[in-house]
C-alpha cells in the first residue's frame, strides 16, 4: 500500500478556478473522504490524482513517487466511477478481468483470435480468469459471471465496478460518488461493504462524496472541500465538534448548525442581540456564535429570548424551530422525544462549553468561558 500526497494543486477551466492550491495527504492504508457540495472541485481533484486530468500547478505523488509525468495507466490506481463505467459488451467476468488482461498479457497475447494461441497466453488467461472469479465471489457476484451489465441491477453493477477495482490490488483506490446512484437502503448496505473491503484489503482509499453521512460514517479522516479549497482535514468526530471554519461548521451536520450574529464588546464579553451570553473572547468586533441544535435547550434561566414557531417529529428526536425576536435569526433545537414543548416566547439556554465562535472572516475564534455569569 502507498500513500497519496497532493500538494498545492491548482486547476482552472477557462476563467473558472476549480482548484485553488489544494493540499491533502492520505496515509498508506487510510480511508479519507473528500466531502463537499456539488461543483466544489472534489471530483476534479480525484480525476487529477487518477491521471485522467492534468493539474495546472502542484504535485501529486503516490507511494512517494511524483506521478506528474505518468499516464493514468501507469499510476497503478483503481477508480470507481459514479456511472460505474462498465463495458456494456463484456460479461461480468470479462469486465472484472480487463485490468488484469491489460497488465499481465503483452500486445501479442492480446491479439484477437490469434493471441489465444500465443505462447504463455493460455496459462496467463487461466490465472486471470481465476483471479477475476475470486474478486467476483468476494462481492457476491459468483453466480453472475456470464451476465452482461444490462442484465444487472444498479447494486450489482456497483459491485462489478468494485470488483474490477479490487481485482488487481492497486496502490490506491479512488472512488467517485460510488453510491449516489443507489437507493437509500442499498446505499447503507453498500457503505458497509466498502468499509469491509477497505478493512480487509487495508487499501489506501480516497473517497469523494457530497453526502456528509457517508463521509462521517466511512472515513478515518474527512477532508471538507468548498469552492476549490480544502478547509479542514480531520477525524469525523473533530470535523463535527471542532470545525475550524464557519463554512465547515455549516456544511457538516444536519440539521444545520445555528449561527447567531454576535458582537464582542471592548472587555471581550460576547453579546447576542445586545445581551451578554456569558462567553468571552480576546478579540473584539463582530462575531458569529455557532451552536449545534442538540446543544440548545429551553431554559427558564437562559439569557436569550426566542419564539417557538413549529415542531418536527423525527422519531428519535424532535426539532423545535424558532426565532430570536430582536434579530429575526432562525434557531433550531434538537430535543429528546416527549419533551415539554414551549409555545410562544421562551428562554433559550445552551451548553457554553459546546459553543463555537467564529470571527468576521469565518475563522474560529478563541472562546473563553466567563466565570462570572452563566448562560
Amino acid at each position: 500500500m502507498a500513500g497519496i500526497a497532493i500538494s498545492n494543486v491548482c486547476k482552472s477551466f477557462g476563467s473558472f478556478e476549480a482548484l485553488r492550491g489544494v493540499s491533502l495527504e492520505v496515509q498508506p492504508g487510510e480511508f479519507v473522504a473528500l466531502v463537499g457540495p456539488s461543483g466544489c472541485g472534489k471530483t476534479t481533484l480525484m480525476r487529477i490524482v487518477a491521471g485522467i486530468e492534468r493539474q495546472d500547478a502542484g504535485r501529486i505523488s503516490i507511494g512517494g513517487r511524483d506521478v506528474g509525468q505518468l499516464r493514468a495507466a501507469d499510476r497503478d490506481v483503481a477508480m470507481v466511477f459514479q456511472s460505474y463505467a462498465l463495458y456494456p459488451h463484456l460479461t461480468v467476468a470479462q469486465n472484472i478481468a480487463v485490468p488484469l488482461v491489460m497488465r499481465r498479457l503483452d500486445n501479442l497475447q492480446r491479439l484477437p483470435l490469434l493471441g489465444r494461441w500465443w505462447p504463455g497466453s493460455r496459462a496467463a488467461r487461466q490465472a486471470i480468469h481465476e483471479d477475476a472469479a475470486k474478486a467476483a465471489a468476494a462481492l457476491g457476484l459468483g453466480s453472475m459471471l456470464d451476465r452482461r451489465p444490462a442484465q444487472l441491477s444498479g447494486g450489482q453493477r456497483q459491485r462489478v465496478a468494485l470488483a474490477r477495482a479490487i481485482v488487481r490490488h492497486p496502490k490506491a483506490f479512488l472512488m467517485d460518488e460510488p453510491l449516489s446512484n443507489l437507493d437509500a437502503a442499498l446505499r447503507v448496505q453498500t457503505r458497509r461493504e466498502i468499509v469491509d473491503i477497505h478493512r480487509r484489503a487495508g487499501a489506501t482509499t480516497l473517497y469523494v462524496t457530497h453526502d456528509q453521512a457517508e463521509a462521517l460514517t466511512m472515513a478515518d479522516r474527512v477532508a471538507v472541500m468548498l469552492a476549490g479549497e480544502i478547509l479542514q482535514v480531520d477525524t469525523p468526530d473533530r470535523v463535527y465538534s471542532d470545525p475550524q471554519d464557519l463554512r465547515v461548521a455549516g456544511f457538516i451536520g444536519s440539521p444545520r448548525i445555528n449561527t447567531l450574529p454576535a458582537e464582542a464588546r471592548g472587555d471581550g464579553a460576547v453579546e447576542v442581540a445586545g445581551v451578554p451570553v456569558g462567553l468571552g473572547t480576546p478579540d473584539c468586533g463582530p462575531l458569529t456564535l455557532a451552536i449545534r441544535p442538540e446543544d440548545l435547550r429551553p431554559d427558564p434561566g437562559g439569557r436569550l429570548e426566542a419564539v417557538a414557531e413549529h415542531v418536527e417529529f423525527l422519531g428519535e428526536s424532535l426539532l423545535l424551530h424558532g426565532r430570536l425576536p430582536q434579530t429575526g435569526t432562525a434557531v433550531t433545537l434538537r430535543l429528546p422525544p416527549g419533551s415539554q414543548m414551549p409555545s410562544g416566547s421562551f428562554r433559550l439556554g445552551f451548553a457554553a462549553e459546546r459553543a463555537l465562535l467564529f470571527d468576521a472572516a469565518g475563522r474560529r475564534a478563541t472562546l473563553r468561558l466567563a466565570v462570572h455569569a452563566h448562560a
Binding site: 480525476r47 487518477a50 491521471g51 485522467i52 499516464r71 493514468a72 495507466a73 501507469d74 490506481v77 483503481a78 477508480m79 466511477f81 456511472s83 463505467a85 463495458y87 456494456p88 459488451h89 463484456l90 480487463v98 485490468p99 491489460m102 497488465r103 492480446r110 484477437p112 452482461r148 451489465p149 444490462a150 474490477r164
Partner: protein, 310 residues
C-alpha cells in the same frame, strides 16, 4: 361506409370487455387505413405487378401478354450483358462499401480527436451528400477528362500519363467506384460521428485507469464494440445504396465503354425503357430485389446477434 360505423359503435357501447377490446382493435385498424391504403397502392401492388410481369413476355405497346414462366430468368443466365452487369455491380459494391465504411470510420475518429474545426470538417465531408448527384457527376466528368481535366493535367506535370478515366474499360469501373466512395463517405462519416458522441467519455477514462495505453487498444476495448449498432446500420445502408448505383453511370458512361460500366439498375433501365422489354426488365428488378432482401436478412439475422446494444 360500414367500416366507419364499426369503431364508433364500439366506442359508444362497450357492453363487454371482449367486445370493447375487439372494438378497440377495429378502431386501430381503421386508423391505420390511410397508411395501409397508400402502402398497398404505392408499394405492394406495384411490387406484385413487377413480380408477375417478370414471368411474362410483356413489351410496351405489345397487343397481347403471354405467361412464359421462368423463361426470362433462363434468358438472364445466358445473357452475357446481364452477367457482366451483375459482376460489375458486385465489384462496384465490393469496392465502394468497404472503402467508404472504413474511410468514414477513420475520418470520424480523426475528427473526433481534433479539438478545433470539428464542424468545418463535418460540413466539408458532408457536402457531397447534399449536392445534386447529376450535377456532381458533370463536375467529375470535367475533373477526369483525359485532355482538359485537372487530374490528368496534374499527372502530366509530375510526368505520368494519366489514363482515360471514364472512357477506358480498364479504369471506368474504378473511377465510378471512386465517385461512389466520395459520395458515400460523408454520409457514413456523419453516422459514425453521431455514434462516437454517444459513447460515454467515462468508459474511455475507465479504460485508461484500467491500464489501456495505446489508442489502438482503446479502440478495440471501447470504441469499436460500442460503435457496433452504428456500424451495423452503416454497413446495411451503404451496401444497399451502392447496389442501387445508377445516376453516375447514366450521366457519365451509359454503361460503356463496351459494357465495362454496365450495372444492374442501368441494365434494367435500358431493357425496360430503351428496348421496352418490360417483362425482361422486371425479371432483372426481381434479381435486384432478391439481392437487397438477402443483404438485409443477412445483416439483421447474422450480424445483429453479434452486436451488443449496451
Amino acid at each position: 361506409m360500414p367500416e366507419a360505423a364499426l369503431p364508433a359503435r364500439a366506442l359508444r357501447a362497450p357492453a363487454s370487455q371482449a367486445r370493447g377490446a375487439r372494438g378497440e382493435a377495429l378502431a386501430g385498424l381503421f386508423l391505420t387505413l390511410p397508411a395501409g391504403i397508400s402502402y398497398v397502392l404505392l408499394l405492394l401492388l406495384p411490387t406484385i405487378a413487377a413480380v408477375l410481369l417478370a414471368f411474362t413476355d410483356y413489351e410496351l405497346g405489345a397487343p397481347d401478354v403471354r405467361w412464359i414462366g421462368i423463361e426470362n430468368f433462363r434468358e438472364l443466365v445466358d445473357d452475357r450483358g446481364f452477367v457482366i452487369s451483375l459482376r460489375n455491380t458486385i465489384v462496384y459494391v465490393g469496392i465502394v462499401a468497404p472503402a467508404s465504411i472504413a474511410g468514414a470510420l477513420v475520418l470520424a475518429l480523426l475528427i473526433e480527436a481534433t479539438t478545433r474545426g470539428k464542424a468545418l470538417f463535418r460540413a466539408v465531408f458532408f457536402l457531397p451528400v447534399v449536392s445534386l448527384p447529376v450535377g456532381m457527376a458533370t463536375a467529375w466528368q470535367y475533373l477526369l477528362h483525359p485532355t482538359i481535366g485537372p487530374v490528368n493535367a496534374f499527372l502530366r506535370d509530375v510526368g505520368v500519363a494519366g489514363p482515360a478515366w471514364l472512357t477506358s474499360s480498364d479504369t471506368v469501373l474504378l473511377s465510378l467506384a471512386f465517385i461512389g466512395i466520395w459520395e458515400a463517405i460523408g454520409f457514413n462519416l456523419v453516422l459514425f460521428l453521431a455514434g462516437l458522441t454517444a459513447i460515454p467519455r467515462e468508459l474511455h477514462q475507465a479504460a485508461e485507469v484500467d491500464g489501456v495505453r495505446s489508442a489502438w487498444e482503446r479502440f478495440r476495448l471501447v470504441t469499436w464494440p460500442l460503435l457496433g449498432p452504428t456500424t451495423l446500420f452503416v454497413v446495411t445502408i451503404t451496401m444497399i445504396r451502392s447496389v442501387r448505383v445508377f445516376d453516375s453511370v447514366a450521366v457519365l458512361t451509359q454503361g460503356g465503354p463496351n459494357r465495362a460500366s454496365e450495372v444492374l439498375l442501368y441494365t434494367m433501365y435500358t431493357e425496360g425503357f430503351t428496348f421496352f422489354r418490360l417483362g425482361y426488365s422486371a425479371a432483372i428488378t426481381l434479381v435486384f430485389l432478391v439481392i437487397v432482401l438477402g443483404l438485409m436478412l443477412l445483416q439483421t439475422k447474422v450480424l445483429d446477434r453479434r452486436v451488443h446494444y449496451g
